[in-house]
Structure formats: C-alpha cells, structure tokens
C-alpha cells in the first residue's frame, strides 16, 4: 500500500451560531465538518465530491490550518497540524499549498503577477534569496505555460484560464508536496478547463505532487483521481478508488449523485434509470439523527434514524474479492445498477 502523506482523523469543525449583539449567546452550531477521516497517499490525486455546503472547502481549510479544527487530527508525517502554530505551522505550510476556485477574486488586483507568484518567498525567504526571485518567478510562469515576459502585468489583463495558471504557479512556488485544489476549474469554460487539467497532470508527474482535488464535475474528478471520496452534510459517506466509486458505488447517496449527472450522449437517454432525490439537503445546524441522508434516502428504515452508520467496508462485503468491498457509511450498503457519469 502506498505511503500516507496526510492522515485525517475524526476531523470536526463546528461554527458557533450566536444570538445577541452585546452579550453573545451561543444558540447552536453549524456542523460543517463532523467527524471525517481519510488518508492522502503520496503522489496520488484524491478527488472530493459532494453538493454545495457539504463541507468540502471547510475540510480543505482545516488541512491547511486556515480554520482551527474543533477537534480531530490532521497528521502530516506523523505531526498533528491542528496543534501547530507560529514557526512550526509555517514550516509545515510550506509543503501544503492551496489553489482556489475563483480565478477572478482569489488574486489581488493591485499586485503584479510577479508579486503574486513571488509572495510566498516573502514568507519563506529561505526558498529563494532576494536576488534570485525574479528568475524563479519567470521559471514558474514558464512551467505553467505563461509567457515569462508577463511578469509585470496585472491579473485583469489575463483570461480566467490564465489567472488559474497564475494561481497554480503561486501554489508551486515553494516546491510543496501537497496541493489542495478547491474547484480549480469550475469557473472556466469547457475548452479552457481541459488545458488547465492537462497542466495539473503534467505538473503532478514532474514534481511528484499529491493532490486533493475538490470539484463538483464528476467526470473531471474521475478523469484525474486515483481515489474519490463522497461527502454529504459534513460526513464522508463513501471512499474508494475511482472504479469502486463510479462503477460499484454502494452508498445510496453516491448512487443518486452519479445517476443525476447528465451523460453527454443522447443515445443513453432512454436506457438510463435516474434516481431523482426528493427534498432538499437538511441544514447542517440541525442534521438528522442517525444517518444524515435518511430524510432523502429511498431505503431508509428505523435503524437509520437511531444508529449512525460508520464509514467502513460493509460487513457483507468484507474479505470479498469484489470492487464493492470498499468503505461506505450505510447500514444497507449494496450495489445498484445505475448508468453513471462517464
């Protein structure tokens, strides 16, 4: 088995809900992330999918310690990032970088591209001595396929795809081991998405990077991921390699999610069984007891309201030499024929 570079254990983030202006009283909490565990292996791409608000970005920020975890651990080479601060945190952050979703707002409009990409060197001057920085930045521009002469331009002079490349160049500046990508291509047009995805693939090989890739486009996630985790309402509900998740999902939510993805082939219209979920995602401030998916699950039974299903290989598949034998948090996990995303 591959070596885990990041081990996430029982990670929890609750955002307090308060009332009152002068005397703040906590009246509850948004349970954005509520006990999530997974490993990120060296050199792999772990895709994370799930609907808006399920906690993907919050997990990403917790991994960088940009948000303080309520509880749980994020072990980087055995060291718990959530407990670090000051210089020790700074040292770890050098190795874990992030690329954000929105190429239009994540770059400071008043800084030149050179300053944006070189900014990490200000925080970590040991990586590039002052005299060396300009050349380094130009190298980075070159690596991501931008003209090094653009170094003095401003973000608004670039297209969305080019801005995303600038964000990636910045993420690469400190030679990190891990890059956490939060919807890196979602804001881009189809024809430009492919360019950025290809770039990320090339960089991964060249620099031996581990990616955590958050996205809502399930076919893109499948294309680039070695493993995929599915989140629902603050929980990881299923995780496995891409074939296990896409061809042999055993969790009803994953099955519904995959069946909802429109397939770009009109011939498949007639032969598809689509699971249309009823209702909306419940509020993370007040999640259902037991299994959080039960309010929308067509298989829910009494047990689902009382017992929280754990993320584990289901008993019935344990030891089986079957792609269904992967971790799934459902009391009644089983395969179902759905024509999923290609």
């Amino acid at each position: 088995m591959a070596e885990a570079i990041l081990e996430v254990r029982d990670l929890v983030k609750h955002f307090p809900l308060t009332q009152g202006i002068i005397v703040k009283k906590q009246i509850g909490a948004v349970k954005a992330v509520d006990g999530v565990s997974f490993d990120l292996y060296r050199g792999e791409t772990l895709g994370i999918v799930g609907e808006s608000g399920c906690g993907k970005s919050t997990v990403a920020k917790l991994l960088m310690n940009l948000e303080r975890a309520t509880s749980g651990q994020v072990l980087y080479k055995g060291e718990d990032i959530t407990k670090l601060s000051g210089r020790a945190l700074k040292a770890v952050r050098r190795n874990i970088q992030m690329v954000f979703q929105d190429p239009y707002t994540s770059l400071n409009p008043r800084m030149t591209v050179g300053d944006i990409i070189g900014e990490p060197f200000e925080i970590h001057p040991e990586v590039a001595p002052k005299g060396d920085r300009r050349r380094k930045v130009q190298d980075l521009l070159d690596v991501v396929g931008l003209n090094p002469e653009y170094i003095n331009r401003y973000p608004h002079q670039f297209s969305g795809g080019q801005r995303q490349r600038i964000g990636i160049a910045r993420g690469l500046a400190l030679n990190p081991e891990i890059i956490i990508c939060d919807e890196p291509v979602s804001a881009l047009d189809v024809s430009v998405q492919a360019q950025v995805i290809n770039l990320m693939g090339r960089l991964q090989k060249e620099f031996d990077l581990s990616y955590m890739f958050i996205a809502h486009d399930l076919s893109i996630v499948r294309h680039i991921s070695d493993r995929v985790g599915v989140m629902y309402l603050g929980k990881m509900v299923e995780i496995g390699d891409d074939e296990q998740i896409y061809e042999h999902p055993t969790h009803p939510y994953t099955q519904a999610l995959l069946s909802a993805v429109p397939v770009p082939d009109p011939e498949s219209r007639e032969h598809r069984e689509r699971i249309i979920l009823s209702g909306d995602v419940p509020s993370p401030a007040n999640p259902p007891s037991g299994c959080r998916f039960r309010t929308r699950c067509w298989k829910a039974q009494d047990k689902c309201a009382t017992e929280v299903p754990l993320l584990a290989v289901p008993e019935r598949f344990k030891g089986a030499d079957s792609p269904a034998a992967h971790e799934s948090a459902c009391h009644f996990a089983e395969e179902k024929d759905v024509v999923g995303a290609a």
Partner: protein
C-alpha cells in the same frame, strides 16, 4: 386559459405554418468606451411548439444577448440591433410597437434566468410575486391570486406551499428558488420559454429535479423551450435540436442525435472531444488551443480560425456561410464535409 382577446392582426396561413419563433440574421452590438463590441453577428435559429432547442456556447459567445433581444429586454443603449428579424408566429417582433411587445412578453414568451435570487424581488414575498402575474395580467383579486400562487408552488413541488407562500426569496434554497422562477414563468401558460442557464448554479441532484420538472411541464403544455447552456450533458439529456454559438454566430445547427455522432463543425468537434472519456483516464484531455476571441477584434474570415486545427488560407479571408449539410443540419465551416467525414 388566457382570457385576453387575441392581440395583433388576424392569423393568416403564413402565421399558422410558421415556426413558433424564428430568429433571422440577428446582429447586436454594444458601444463601449473601447469600441464597438459585436456580441451577436448573424444568429439564425428557430423553435416549434413542443420542441426543445438547446443553444450551446462558451461564456461570452452571445447566448444571453440573443435571448435578451428576443425578450426585448436589451440595454439600449449601449446595445443596438443594426440588423435582423425575430418572428413570433410569423410576425416580426422588432417591428412591433412597445405595447404589442409587452403583451407578448410575459404572456406568450417567458424567461427563466440563471440567478433566481437576483431575478426575484428580495423584499416581496414569493407568493406576492407569483400572485402579481395574475393580478396584473388577468385582473384576479388578491385572494384569488394568492390561491393561484399556492397552486403554482404546489405544482413545482415546493413542500408545504400553503405555509410558505408568505416567505421571502432568501428563505428558500437555491433549487427551490429556481423552481419558483419556473412557476413564475409558467404562470400564464406561455407558448415559449427561454431558460438561460437555469441549472448552472445548482448541484447535479438539484439540477436533475429542476430539469425533470421543466420537461414535464413543457410536455403538458406543449410549449417551445429554448434552453441556453454550456453543458453538453444537459443538452444530450433534453434537447431535440441544438444550435452551437461561437463569437456571436451560430456555427452549427442539427438534431441532437446527429451532432453527437458526427459534428460538422470543428468547434463542435473540439467541444465533444474535450469531454473526459473513460478510456482516456490518465492521459491528457483533448483541449481546444487558445482562447475565445475578443469581441472588439473578432478575427477576419472564420472567427474560429486561430484555434482551428483544420484552418486553411481561405479561413483567414472568407467568412464561411451557414451552409446546409442536410435538410435539418447546417454548418458555418468551409470544410464541413471533411469535418463530417472525420
């Protein structure tokens, strides 16, 4: 069910056999500080009752501007329509009086916008806004209009419609708001609905709910539907025919089954090729090179020529006409035959 008298001249044979809506050689330009932006440069498409036309194109290709011109809600100035015709049941709407157009808009043609939150009035209850359609257009009393509003909310499957009719837009989820927009568009049982990226902001499972609903209501009322989207999956799922836009022109139109099998324009082919496919996992995606053109400086000849792998000299000098490929297909490419043959 509309109780109003027929507006406009008597129906003639021509108006009876004409398509529900036909756009002919439409041009729209915007006069900006930097020059004239040619947003729409000769759009031709048509849709019949009961039919779904998908308009596919990247952002900035002129999809929404065309729709705004049809609805008569273009910002003029800076917008201008130097040329073109928009026939609704055989009558050119661009030649109608403001009064005549207003009658058609809302009652005969309705529009659904991408962003429901900004399309709905935040300070009025959803029930009031729905009821307004009936009060203004059908002169219903407040009480009857409210009953109608509840009925509509029921119909688009808003749970507990009776209790929620007084709620404000921000109190609903994104999917519910989009369903309320659909309800509003449906209220007067129009002949044609223009839906501008109605599900782009939604999660796939919610998208599936909304598209399902839209298709069902369309079937019931035998409406024409113009669905604007950049999602090849959504198109394959619901469209009867498709019009592909690039730099303000229709570059290809075809029945949906045929275009996915064999595109007759290199841009369409490029879009289809850049969809991640299973057998390509781990390999580079096909990517259309370069960027969409700047509308202030559209390339001469074929606007796609700087990005086209098939471009020849003639492409840089001569604008390719929208040529008939078959009775039901057309392509604006000098080399459509070669493209079609693969």
């Amino acid at each position: 069910m509309t109780t109003l008298e027929k507006a406009g001249p008597e129906q003639t044979d021509a108006t009876r056999t004409a398509p529900l809506l036909e756009v002919r050689d439409l041009h729209v330009e915007f006069h900006t500080r930097d020059g004239v932006a040619k947003a729409v440069n000769g759009v031709n498409y048509s849709v019949n009752a009961g039919e779904t036309l998908a308009v596919l194109g990247e952002s900035g290709s002129g999809k929404s501007v065309t729709a705004q011109a049809i609805m008569g809600i273009l910002d003029m100035p800076p917008g201008r329509i130097p040329k073109g015709e928009i026939f609704f049941r055989g009558q050119d709407m661009l030649k109608m009086s403001g009064e005549e157009r207003r009658k058609i808009r809302g009652q005969k043609i309705a529009m659904i916008f991408q962003d429901a939150l900004s399309a709905l009035n935040p300070v009025l209850s959803v029930g009031y806004q729905l009821g307004e359609m009936f009060r203004v257009h059908q002169g219903l009393s407040k009480k009857d209009a409210k009953a109608k509003a509840i009925e509509l909310m029921d119909r688009v499957r808003i749970p507990a419609a009776k209790e929620r009719v007084g709620d404000y837009p921000h109190q609903f989820s994104g999917g519910m708001r989009q369903r309320i927009m659909i309800a509003m568009a449906m209220a007067l049982e129009p002949d044609l609905i223009i839906a501008d990226e109605p599900t782009t902001a939604l999660d796939v499972t919610v998208q599936a709910q909304v598209m399902d609903l839209l298709a069902e209501l369309q079937r019931e009322m035998n409406m024409g539907l113009i669905l604007i989207t950049h999602d090849l999956g959504v198109v394959a799922d619901v469209a009867d025919k498709i019009a592909v836009m690039y730099a303000g022109r229709i570059v290809e139109t075809a029945p949906v089954h045929e275009i996915y099998k064999a595109p007759a324009h290199p841009y369409t082919k490029g879009l289809l090729d850049s969809i991640p496919r299973l057998d390509q996992k781990g390999q580079e995606l096909y990517a259309i090179k370069g960027l969409p053109p700047n509308l202030l400086r559209i390339p001469s000849g074929c606007a796609f020529n700087p990005r086209c792998p098939m471009a020849k000299e003639v492409c840089r000098t001569d604008v390719p006409p929208l040529a008939a490929v078959s009775d039901t297909r057309a392509s604006a490419c000098h080399f459509w035959k070669e493209t079609l043959d693969g």
